[in-house]
Symmetry: C2
Subunit: 452 residues, 2 copies
């Protein structure tokens, strides 16, 4: 079997299930590719081939003894290096945690293991999942940023080094890098997936979720992760859905609200035209596309988001920052300093602004299945001093709404463009069903021009 | 029928159900009593006898036409004057809202109406449910504070002016006045009952709940109120229980954890001895009483609570306070000023302290049904310049845990003493079952020496 690295989760899963693919062969192929691409892409913080292979062998032995853990059995997955992994270095790409080896797995990591995934290694994050660029490069063009903060996760999925990775989003850190790298990123509803054991950036915003190469793949990972965890105070007790069924089912064309307000004015010409063309293709296939208007104020929300993240990050890093301020990157440092100068009443007002926005949007989106926006204002900038702009993702993170990005085409410069779909809280089934339908219509199949 | 004013909710309900008591007669009896006691007790902000009687007549007409709304049908209830009532003045006892007539009912008020209660009137609160004393007097001795902030609600239930009232608790504002007045107060889990349409004091703490003269009565009111309300962002989607059944059932003797830490040191000698004697009586009836110890730090939590309430109140009152600072009472004003001087990181740290405490207590209380403490450090002070000390209630409000106070005896000065029971979040059935069992053993039946 050739080109094992090109298999999606769904494809590999089917082959593993009928015993025509060995988890060990799959891992071997991916490790070879990882090794070859690492000098150009800098995806990894920690990659221990022996441990990854041993995991694959354990997985294979289980299959041989007749035990299958389901659709993720034997599937390699990479973890952003803010997920605690028992006995394995977890650095958050900070010099302060350069030697930190957790004594436990993050709850989500434990769930992924239970579901049968094989942890391949720990992928590069920007420092503390904030805005300072990481060494990772965009596989579509290494002069362009891969985005952040889930840089290694997104670049590695795009470069076919692994079929799935875990990221996290506090502003736009799953969907933006996923879009910049031409892959699928899913941010579930705030509270849908436990973030226990994941290094926090801002408690009231942090959300963990997968990056994959198909909507169904993202749904399969969500099936493994969704549910209540009493160890995470923000974890919801709402019943979980059957996300893969929602993504793989025979979906009807969705009713899509196109958000022109704010997003049009902040997109470049090419992105705006591309998004409108994508909408036309959806409408031609009988999606019901309507123009979405709302009284909610996106600019005010962005200000609130910036205050919330600055204050909460300042609180989280208070002890480390008081003794080792110089070990923080300039961008997160500036945010922490802003947080320390913010009065509590401003923070509380920001939280109220958030709640007001959330209610307004929720009310106004009641008659559509999903909202649609471009995923980013422009393709990944040709600028390695930035991870790009989060303003198209942060409104939905701030609201806690679930969102997904789909690759929808390539810009003239060869970098990917994407569309973002958003649904109401805990409506992941509706979101994934609509996303799978749109994915079929938009039919993006390009891969980055990396060769080994 | 004489002495209608002495009927509890449960008693009146049974009589109304078998048509041996008319809601109109009951209301007439209570209005007569209300009128006679008002000059001494100052329970009311708004009492419109015609409207109350018209409500009772509507209730009676429904019964005559064969419609019963259940155990609260025809039961008079008073509302703390921070509950919005459509078309009826809702002042929060602030000069700023002296003329405010809401155009809607608070969600809880709508639920109470739907359950058949007859709104008798609006009871005195301290200004904005904060710490400035109200004109209400304690019916056990009018030289003593009735406590606050639900002053009118507690004094009126104790003085047999109404069998039930709604209060709210942000520090200790349901349980403290209930205990000072020798009645039952229930603070449900944070998020169990919608607070939509109730004037806020501090969003992350505010909880609404009933004051009654029996545990079963409180449970009946909770049955009407518990449930999710999408209009309240803090409202929980957790399934509700059958609270009356829990309170009225044949409960086994509970396993009670006595919290000596912090509470012993902060109680006066009489309260401490009284509480230990009450525990002995429970143990003699086969309650399993154990000494509860925890690593949680009550002093640190009290500091966190004070910061949270100051900051959130400052945020809530920001607009009014900027233009009419002199219309705020000295205590709430001082709290707002403190809030304005608090850095956001201190607020966030206070929220983390709260969460750390909550987890520690929750872990440590896993093997008891309920915790027990004295309800207050001492009986109601002979001091009308204070509403008393909230330190025995505020830990549980800060955690969001449900708590109930039961009257358990009289101090040497004739003022009531009470015990407070606390359970884990959303364990109201267990709490009410244990409380009803303790109520039977403690058998407090005294009434305040008010005469008309």
């Amino acid at each position: 079997m050739t080109n094992l690295h090109q298999l999606t989760v769904t494809q590999a899963s089917a082959l593993i299930a009928d015993r025509s693919l060995s988890p060990v062969s799959l891992m071997e192929a991916l490790l070879t590719r990882a090794d070859a691409l690492e000098p150009a892409l800098h995806v990894w913080v920690t990659l221990d081939p022996d441990a990854a292979l041993e995991g694959a062998r354990r997985s294979e032995r289980e299959l041989e003894s007749g035990k299958s853990r389901g659709p993720l059995h034997g599937i390699p997955i990479a973890l952003k290096d803010i997920y605690n992994t028992k006995g394995v270095l977890t650095t958050a790409c900070s010099p302060i945690y350069a030697d930190y080896v957790p004594d436990h797995d993050a709850h989500s990591v434990a769930l992924l293991r239970r579901a049968g995934t094989v942890i391949m290694g720990k992928a590069v994050t920007t420092q503390f999942a904030s805005g300072d660029p990481s060494p990772t490069r965009n596989p579509w063009n290494t002069a362009h940023t891969p985005g952040g903060s889930s840089s290694g996760s997104a670049a590695g999925v795009a470069a076919r080094i692994f079929p799935a990775a875990m990221g996290s989003q506090t502003g736009g850190s799953i969907l933006r890098p996923a879009s910049y790298n031409g892959v699928v990123g899913l941010k579930p509803t705030y509270g849908r997936v436990s973030k226990h054991g994941v290094f926090p950036l801002a408690w009231s915003l942090d959300t963990v979720g997968p990056i994959t190469r198909s909507v169904e793949d993202a749904a399969i990972v969500l099936d493994a992760l969704a549910g209540h965890d009493p160890k995470d105070p923000s974890s919801s007790t709402r019943p979980v859905g059957n996300y893969r069924r929602a993504a793989a089912g025979n979906a009807r064309p969705p009713r899509v609200g196109y958000v022109s307000q704010f997003f049009d004015a902040n997109s470049d010409d090419e992105t705006r035209a591309h998004t409108r063309a994508a909408l036309e293709r959806l409408a031609e296939s009988d999606a019901d596309v309507v123009d979405f208007t709302t009284v909610a104020d996106f600019e005010e929300l962005a200000a609130a988001h910036s205050i919330i993240i600055a204050v909460e990050a300042a609180g989280i890093h208070e002890a480390d920052f008081s003794v080792r301020p110089d070990d923080f990157g300039p961008r997160i440092r500036a945010s922490i300093e802003r947080g320390h100068l913010t009065p509590a009443v401003a923070y509380v007002r920001a939280q109220r602004t958030r709640e007001k926005f959330r209610r307004a949007i929720l009310h106004d989106m009641a008659d559509v299945d999903v909202l649609l926006t471009p995923s980013t204002p422009a393709p990944a900038p040709r600028d390695l001093t930035t991870t790009g702009d989060m303003i198209f993702q942060s409104p939905w993170t701030t609201c806690g709404f679930p969102a997904v990005t789909l690759p929808s085409g390539l810009a003239a410069n060869g970098l990917p463009l994407g569309v973002q779909l958003i649904a109401a809280p805990f409506a992941e089934e509706r979101l994934l069903s609509a996303a799978a339908w749109c994915e079929r219509i938009l039919a993006f199949h390009a891969a980055p021009p990396v060769t080994i």
